[in-house]
């Protein structure tokens, strides 16, 4: 079982993930239309690139935009969640050992204690983000079951991972469940709204170009995000 989930199934998951996100980006770009969207994507390119980069940069910066600053608690949780989600799996020692074993490569790794901390941070952030969905009326009204499912898919590998690591119970069971959850997450990224993994950049770049080219970018200093 272990061989299968870390072998063929892992290949499949990574394959779907990679091909999936490429397809998403290609389809996004192909669906843009300068006249319908009213943005000259391929003319005034200098302004477009500048607008796109500004739009991505400020939003990737914790507290870099007015919206982030106005919602300090939420911003903290969101960045905590995303930093944990991205860095933990890539720089985890155990993952890199496996990587070396299977594909002969390995990356720089973080100490196990740091990984533990990040994992707990991810779970903590997810729990509070879920509670926020219930507590705030303006969030509750737009929340549906799908949103909770997304949150669950995103944190499941972390919950199962930490249980496996501390070998609370049946190690083999939790380990395999952990791997399966990770693979589900990978596949879910291109096929669900977790596609914001990549479409965040596409959408931010698009609006950045809109502002950079058409909505004042050629006249003012560029929008103060």
């Amino acid at each position: 079982m272990y061989e299968f989930v870390t072998g063929p199934l892992a290949w499949l998951a990574f394959g779907l993930f990679a091909v999936g996100i490429i397809v998403r980006v290609v389809r996004y770009v192909r669906g843009l239309d300068w006249q319908a969207d009213r943005v000259t994507y391929t003319v005034n390119v200098k302004f477009g690139v500048k607008g796109a980069l500004r739009s991505i940069f400020y939003w990737l910066l914790p507290y870099g935009t007015r919206s982030w600053r106005k919602n300090p608690g939420f911003t903290f949780l969101v960045f905590l969640l995303h930093i944990g989600l991205l860095f933990t799996p890539i720089f985890l020692q155990a993952h890199n050992v496996l990587l070396k074993e299977r594909w002969g490569i390995s990356l720089w790794t973080i100490p196990e204690s740091a990984a533990d901390l990040l994992t707990i941070a991810v779970i903590f952030a997810a729990v509070f983000l879920a509670l926020r969905r219930i507590a705030l009326t303006e969030v509750r009204i737009i929340t549906n079951a799908y949103d909770y499912l997304m949150l669950l898919i995103a944190v499941a590998p972390f919950i199962t991972g930490i249980i496996a690591r501390y070998q609370v119970a049946n190690y083999q069971f939790w380990l395999i469940l952990h791997i399966l959850c990770g693979e589900i997450l990978l596949v879910a990224i291109p096929f669900t709204k977790l596609s914001h993994f990549i479409l965040f950049f596409a959408s931010r770049a698009q609006l950045g170009m809109d502002y950079g080219i058409k909505r004042g970018g050629m006249k003012g200093k560029g929008l103060a995000w």
Binding site: N44, S67, E138, I142, Q206, R215, G216, G220
Partner: protein, 461 residues
């Protein structure tokens, strides 16, 4: 399938149609007919396919329902944080649902969409600046209005407005003759006070081609005279086109893209005909947005720019004050606290925040910013055509509260509002809430403060 006599899927292209609509006071019959209007589902599906491409699809799909957009919307705040006013909710429950059902929707749904797209969103695009994914709900609502328009679900005044543009190439029934006569009349009227004052019509190769909002010739002709006086004092070589003088676009508010195109092309044709160096647009926000920002796209101009460089009136004023073409008498600067209404259309969506501040630095001694301001300013409450729609008067009036509070917090009693919609909204706000403020365009303000060169003053005989 029932199509009303007044409320239907046809566009208004003849005077008879227009007169019939106008005769239906308040749109009583029009809205009654709307209750029976059929939805052409296959046409709606086709329209959706054409309009909702990767940008909108992505926005609707990846919205993480985080609610950050809630507080960015002045309607949400003005309606005591009513969750049904959250931008994400508003768009998901209208365009989002329409898409999910692939256009299989009924009359009641379409009317709900219309009410939401007009009475719950002024397309101010503020929420898009607060969304982590850059989901611009205001833009989606603007396109949703177009989808609704194609099915005949458009407020009565909007239907009339599109007809006006289609027939008169103006948002009101002002003909070319009316316009030219108004210009002549104003020049005569003010010539005694301003010797040599003219309003040159159709002069070729001028430095400036000046274009206006139809309300000016129709209701505020002094505005044209004031523009003439300022150009005259500044020594500009300017003109107005006989045809193609109207900048506004109720068609844009209604989402009638074909009419939008006709309207802006009338202006671009005037540019080609008169070959001015630049065009200056009057103190109007949506007019500038329509003709300068969006217009080139409707007209299919691939560089996204108007045929000749076009600037907003405030850009001309800032330049004239900066270069000394217009001089302010320092003793006449505004002494009292004064604030500035940032128009969504040329500030957030036009990048002119600094230009407005530059002007205020020349003319005001105690300039007070609203909070928030510049690109982050709230809509006046009258954007997106809301000032002119009787059906949504109540909702608009509630929305005005945010601007009222913002102005009051500055402590200023004078508001500079170089935008027709903002100006109207603030006027109505004062009428309803009576907070004791005054509001003004830049032109009359500047004329009072000018240092007029001796040779331009009337000679006492």
């Amino acid at each position: 399938m029932p199509e009303g006599k007044l409320c239907n899927k046809q566009t208004v292209d003849t005077k008879e149609q227009l007169e019939a609509l106008l005769a239906d006071k308040g749109g009583k019959q029009y809205y009654e007919e709307m209750n029976h209007l059929d939805v052409n589902k296959s046409a709606l599906t086709a329209t959706l396919k054409k309009v909702v491409k990767s940008r909108f699809k992505t926005w609707l799909e990846i919205c993480s329902h985080c609610g950050l957009c809630a507080e960015s919307c002045f309607y949400y705040l003005a309606n005591d944080r009513d969750p049904t006013q959250v931008p994400s909710y508003k768009i998901q429950s209208t365009l989002g649902k329409m898409l999910k059902r692939k256009g299989d929707v009924d009359n009641a749904f379409m009317q709900m969409c219309m009410d939401t797209a007009f009475a719950k969103c002024t397309c101010c695009t503020r929420c898009g600046v607060y969304c982590p994914f850059g989901i611009d709900t205001g833009v989606m609502f603007a396109y949703l209005r177009g989808i609704l328009f194609s099915q005949g679900f458009s407020p009565w005044e909007m239907k009339i407005g599109t007809g006006m543009h289609r027939i008169y190439r103006a948002q009101m029934d002002v003909t070319v003759e009316d316009w030219v006569e108004t210009c002549e009349w104003m020049a005569e009227e003010y010539e005694a006070d301003w010797p040599g004052l003219t309003i040159p019509v159709d002069k070729e190769n001028a430095d400036i081609m000046y274009t206006v909002n139809a309300r000016e010739p129709k209701h505020y002709p002094e505005d044209i005279a004031e523009a003439a006086i300022l150009f005259h004092v500044a020594g500009e070589n300017w003109t107005v086109p006989g045809e193609g003088w109207e900048e506004t676009s109720l068609a844009m508010f209604a989402g009638d893209v074909a009419a939008c195109k006709m309207q802006v092309e009338s202006v671009y044709t005037a540019m080609d005909r008169l070959k001015p160096k630049r065009m200056v647009v009057t103190e109007c926000g949506h007019a500038y947005r329509a003709t300068v920002i969006e217009g080139p796209y409707w007209a299919g101009l691939k560089n996204g720019k108007t045929p000749v460089e076009s600037i907003h009136y405030i850009e001309w004023v800032a330049e004239a004050l900066r270069t000394g073409k217009l001089k302010i008498d320092p003793s006449k600067k505004i002494k009292e606290p004064v604030t500035y209404q940032d128009s969504c259309n040329y500030i957030r969506n036009g990048g002119l925040a600094d230009v407005a501040r530059e002007i205020m630095s020349y003319i005001a001694e105690d300039f007070r910013e609203m909070n928030p301001c510049r690109e982050h300013n709230f809509c006046c409450g009258g954007g997106g055509g809301l000032n002119g729609i009787g059906r949504y008067r109540q909702q608009r009036n509630i929305g005005l509260k945010i601007k009222r509070d913002q102005i009051q917090e500055t402590g200023a009693k004078l508001v500079v509002a170089p935008c027709h919609n903002c100006w109207d909204a603030i006027r109505d706000m004062e009428e309803i809430y009576k907070i004791g403020i005054r509001w003004t365009f830049l032109k009359p303000l500047l004329i009072k403060m000018l240092e007029v060169p001796e040779h331009l003053k009337p000679k006492d005989e």
